[in-house]
């Protein structure tokens, strides 16, 4: 079930321009062209380093982890309306009107 991709040393991932472009999109970030080479190099170094985890046998271990026992607590589904917080956030928002945040047109 668990496909350990990093167990095969020959399959080391190379961060290239295509992957960086995908990551920029996922991250909503634009990396300046002049910085792309440096960032590809840095990310490649880091990814190559973290591949060391493939040396460890983790079979049979749970893929979820918590230091707390008992799991996430449940609570009643009651709304909590803090008017002052709402007012304060809207008042300091980059742009707001009445009870709304104002953004540029979504559909041109």
């Amino acid at each position: 079930m668990y496909n350990n991709k990093t167990s095969n040393k020959e399959e080391n991932v190379q961060i290239d321009n295509t992957i960086l472009e995908k990551l920029e999109k996922l991250s909503h970030l634009k990396i300046d062209d002049g910085k792309k080479e440096e960032i590809i190099h840095q990310l490649s170094d880091i990814v190559a380093y973290v591949e060391n985890l493939s040396e460890l046998d983790t079979s049979g271990l749970d893929a979820s982890f918590s230091t707390l026992t008992g799991g996430t607590p449940m609570r009643e589904d009651v709304s909590s309306k803090q008017e002052e917080v709402i007012k304060s956030i809207l008042a300091h928002a980059p742009q707001s009107e009445d009870d709304f945040f104002v953004v540029p047109a979504i559909i041109e």
Partner: protein
């Protein structure tokens, strides 16, 4: 600077005088430890890291992207301070979004080490540690995701304590890596750390990861004789000054009547890898909320997509961008199993390894950092910086409490800190051992 314990005995008038003295000293110093002198509440002034919400303050995580944001409520730790004879006074500098080990990545510029202004104070709570170590704050609250309280405390000659995960509410702490973040005290001595810890701890229904476990007031017993494990294979990677401080401290602990047991742990490279997969994954998710729509700084844009891209590209610094990209890499389709889930599994191994040692020992003694504070600008390469977190991050991954304490100085007069690590929710033993160690090593400022 007077200690927190003494400050708590002062009158309102005396405290007003102390506060104005603090402000004058901080403004006259060239450390750049404070980035604001805001006031909230009444009582003993406590310096607050720039990622803990104080109602009405500009709280910015040291980032350009949060310029203009005003915190709309108090973090639970701030509410607790205010009801315990303390107040929030001033914001301390930090690495942007707590991502760094030097406080060089702040929007507000570099903070300097009070022992040598050509060196970094450590990070990410570098402003807090520099202020306490430099005598311009009585005590401070920092946050520790991978060592961000303990390492700057060690570099600046003060005490830094990370509580057990779940012990202190994270409500109102700007999230970096939610499964690792904890707020904790940075103080002048162990007793002050216990005082501040006692005030901020406790279950909080507003934080679903807050542990619902009763914890009585800490009563330090420095005469308790403990079994302390030392990790033999860790120390070889530290500088010779750290190695000497470590062996001298072991001797001092033995002379104080503690039993030392020798252990080994897996290579710290696995801790570093696990941490930088999980912390970046969580950060990429947590920092997705900064898009220029609701709070902070918005970039110019003619459509919503550009609004997101421009706001984030202009607002985040290089290290934050690097971690968001890396986090999205380890979470992305095709890599999620191999990196993110693998690291989650390794986290069990790390915790199990600590638990095995705690079957035989009350505490673990470990270095905090492999060297004393480096020179400003000395660490260029991100991976090299990550590796310097080798001794602190496993504790966050396992959710354990730990306390960093100055034990010696190197030949240049730079402080060296070592940390004690305790079982989860056993802060009492942590403080008992730390108080004994503080007395045994006879460190002088």
């Amino acid at each position: 600077m007077i200690t927190l314990k003494v400050a708590l005995t002062k009158t309102k008038e005396e405290l007003a005088e102390i506060k104005s003295e603090l402000e004058n000293l901080a403004k006259a110093s060239d450390l750049n430890a404070y980035i604001g002198f805001e006031n909230s509440g009444e009582g003993v002034p406590i310096l607050i890291k720039d990622n803990i919400q104080v109602n009405g303050w500009s709280v910015t995580s040291g980032s350009k992207i949060l310029q203009g944001y005003i915190a709309p409520y108090d973090a639970t730790v701030i509410t607790k301070l205010k009801s315990s004879g303390m107040m929030a006074f001033g914001r301390s500098n930090m690495d942007e979004f707590a991502m760094g080990s030097t406080t060089e990545s702040s929007f507000y510029g570099i903070t300097k080490n009070p022992y040598d202004i050509s060196r970094v104070p450590g990070g990410s709570s570098g402003g807090a540690a520099a202020a306490v170590g430099g005598g311009i704050a009585i005590a401070a609250l920092g946050s520790d995701t991978g060592g961000s309280i303990r390492q700057p405390a060690a570099y600046c000659g003060c005490v830094g304590m990370k509580p057990t995960y779940g012990r202190v509410s994270r409500y109102g702490l700007a999230a970096y890596a939610s499964s690792l973040d904890q707020i904790g005290p940075i103080t002048q001595n162990v007793e002050d750390a216990a005082i501040l810890y006692d005030i901020i701890k406790g279950h909080d229904p507003r934080d679903s990861t807050s542990a619902d476990i009763e914890d009585s007031k800490t009563v330090i017993n420095e005469n308790r004789k403990l079994t302390i494990a030392v990790i033999d294979n860790y120390i070889s990677e530290a500088s010779s000054d750290i190695q000497k401080a470590y062996s001298d401290t072991i001797k001092a602990l033995q002379d104080a009547g503690h039993t030392i047991v020798h252990k080994n742990m897996q290579n710290t490279k696995y801790d570093i890898a696990t941490y930088y997969i999980l912390a970046t994954a969580e950060a990429a998710t947590n920092l997705a909320r900064f898009d220029g729509v609701r709070y902070g700084r918005r970039a110019e844009a003619s459509n919503v997509s550009d609004l997101y891209y421009n706001t984030r590209s202009e607002g985040f610094g290089d290290e934050v961008k690097r971690r968001i990209l890396l986090g999205n890499f380890v979470l992305s389709s095709g890599y999620y199993d191999a990196y993110y889930l693998k690291a989650q599994r390794v986290r069990h191994l790390i915790r199990d390894e600590f638990n095995t040692i705690f079957n035989e020992a009350d505490l673990i003694l470990s270095p905090v950092a492999p060297s004393v504070a480096p020179k400003i600008g000395a660490v260029h390469d991100p991976l090299e910086m990550y590796k310097s977190d080798m001794y602190t991050i496993a504790i966050n991954l396992a959710g354990l409490p730990a306390l960093s304490l100055p034990v010696a100085k190197d030949s240049d007069g730079m402080p060296i800190g070592l940390q004690l690590i305790a079982k989860a929710f056993d802060e009492q033993t942590l403080f008992d051992g730390a108080a004994s160690m503080e007395k045994a090593v006879k460190y002088t400022k």
